[in-house]
């Protein structure tokens, strides 16, 4: 059973997807569904014996292009809709025992091009109003498959966090005539102490308002709204800074660093979003090598986060761990 139910108290949709209870959970070695299928071996989701990058419809989706009718009727108070949308899996590499951070920068450039392709195609679907590209990395954020991969949810509505950012950026534009993210990047550039790494096209920083110790935002320096606005040089620079940032994350505790990566782009509903600004948000849950930042009473119950650290100090720690990128074809 799968359907969208509206929460009138919070003004937001949620999905029920009872079939997801049966999804593959941390399979043993040799039975990874995201590995290439080897001759005589376990038939995975990917029939060929090798690949660069693949994307496919999720076997256990919470949104479907042809969803069933809801199993419950709506009432005057409770709206219900079919769970229409698309859920894709994007497999970053055929190498099972790897991470995105461990991939060469050239593979990250390939991924940037794939993200752009997926955004462009899903953005054009008439029932899609928002394309959300993300990655859950690490068991502590709920990963059920270790093979390096991300996901894409193409929602039939603009999800609440994006809607809130849209409202804040719209208000800022109406008040100041400027872009909020451009102004944030400008203020971080002037202050300097929260910058982790930057290049000609992007800046990564732990924001003034970070809710997690190593929460890092990666913003385009040019005022753009989506992958489809990136120039070829900006694609190279995005791959480059992703490699630097993710590698620095792994050096913090000398282990593959768990995170949620959320790519924030304009909605796909055809509305005017010139005030919005392409950026990527990373939410690593670890606050020390052995301690997690749990969401508890104030965070879950009231929405106010308490950060036990200072962004300026954590940015300095992370900045010291950034190393230059080595492209294969670089002087």
């Amino acid at each position: 059973m799968s359907e969208l139910r509206f929460n009138p108290l919070r003004g937001e949709w949620l999905a029920t997807a009872t079939h997801r209870q049966d999804r593959t959970f941390l399979p043993p070695p040799g039975f990874c569904p995201l590995c290439p299928t080897q001759e005589g071996g376990f038939p995975t989701e990917i029939p060929e014996s090798s690949y660069d990058i693949v994307a496919f419809e999720n076997r256990f989706p919470s949104l479907l292009s042809r969803p069933p009718e809801p199993a419950i009727d709506p009432t005057d108070l409770y709206a219900v809709e079919p769970s229409r949308g698309v859920c894709e899996v994007v497999v970053y590499t055929p190498e099972h025992a790897s991470t995105l951070a461990q991939q060469p920068v050239e593979q990250l450039l390939k991924l940037v091009r794939v993200w752009r392709n997926r955004f462009e195609e899903l953005d054009a679907l008439d029932f899609v109003n928002y394309v959300f590209i993300f990655e859950n990395k690490g068991e502590v954020v709920g990963v059920t498959l270790h093979h390096p991969h991300g996901q894409i949810y193409a929602y039939p509505f603009v999800p609440p966090i994006i809607a809130r950012e849209l409202e804040q950026t719209r208000r800022h534009f109406e008040t100041t005539g400027g872009c909020l993210l451009c102004d944030i990047v400008g203020e971080e550039a002037n202050f300097g102490a929260r910058i982790v790494v930057e290049n000609d096209s992007f800046m990564a920083y732990i924001p003034f308002f970070a809710r997690y110790p190593f929460e890092t935002h990666l913003a385009a320096k040019r005022h753009i709204q989506a992958f489809t606005d990136l120039s070829r040089d900006e694609e190279l620079d995005l791959a480059s800074i992703l490699k630097q940032l993710l590698s620095a994350f792994d050096r913090i505790f000398e282990m593959p660093f768990p995170y949620v990566m959320a790519i924030h782009q304009r909605p796909s509903d055809g509305g005017p979003y010139d005030h919005y600004h392409f950026h990527i948000e990373f939410y690593p849950p670890m606050r020390t090598v052995s301690k997690l930042k749990y969401l508890a009473g104030s965070e879950i119950g009231a929405g106010m986060f308490i950060n036990d650290t200072l962004p300026e100090q954590k940015a300095e720690e992370l900045r010291k761990l950034v190393e230059p990128v080595k492209w294969k074809n670089q002087n």
Partner: protein, 55 residues
């Protein structure tokens, strides 16, 4: 730290997109980079079996 070094040229080559259909009807898209392959073949030399079409 500002790293403005870009490669002299891209080594990943052009992206080709090959869309296939799984037995249960879901789509599966292969993204391949580099030299174009012969029609009807993958980079590994496998023959394309399903209703592959570019998107």
């Amino acid at each position: 730290m500002n790293n403005n070094d870009r490669p002299q040229s891209e080594e990943i080559g052009e992206m080709s997109v090959r869309r296939t259909t799984m037995p249960d009807g879901r789509y599966l898209i292969y993204f391949e980079f580099g030299e174009p392959v012969s029609p009807g073949e993958t980079k590994n030399g496998d023959t394309i079996k399903s209703d592959d079409t570019d998107v």
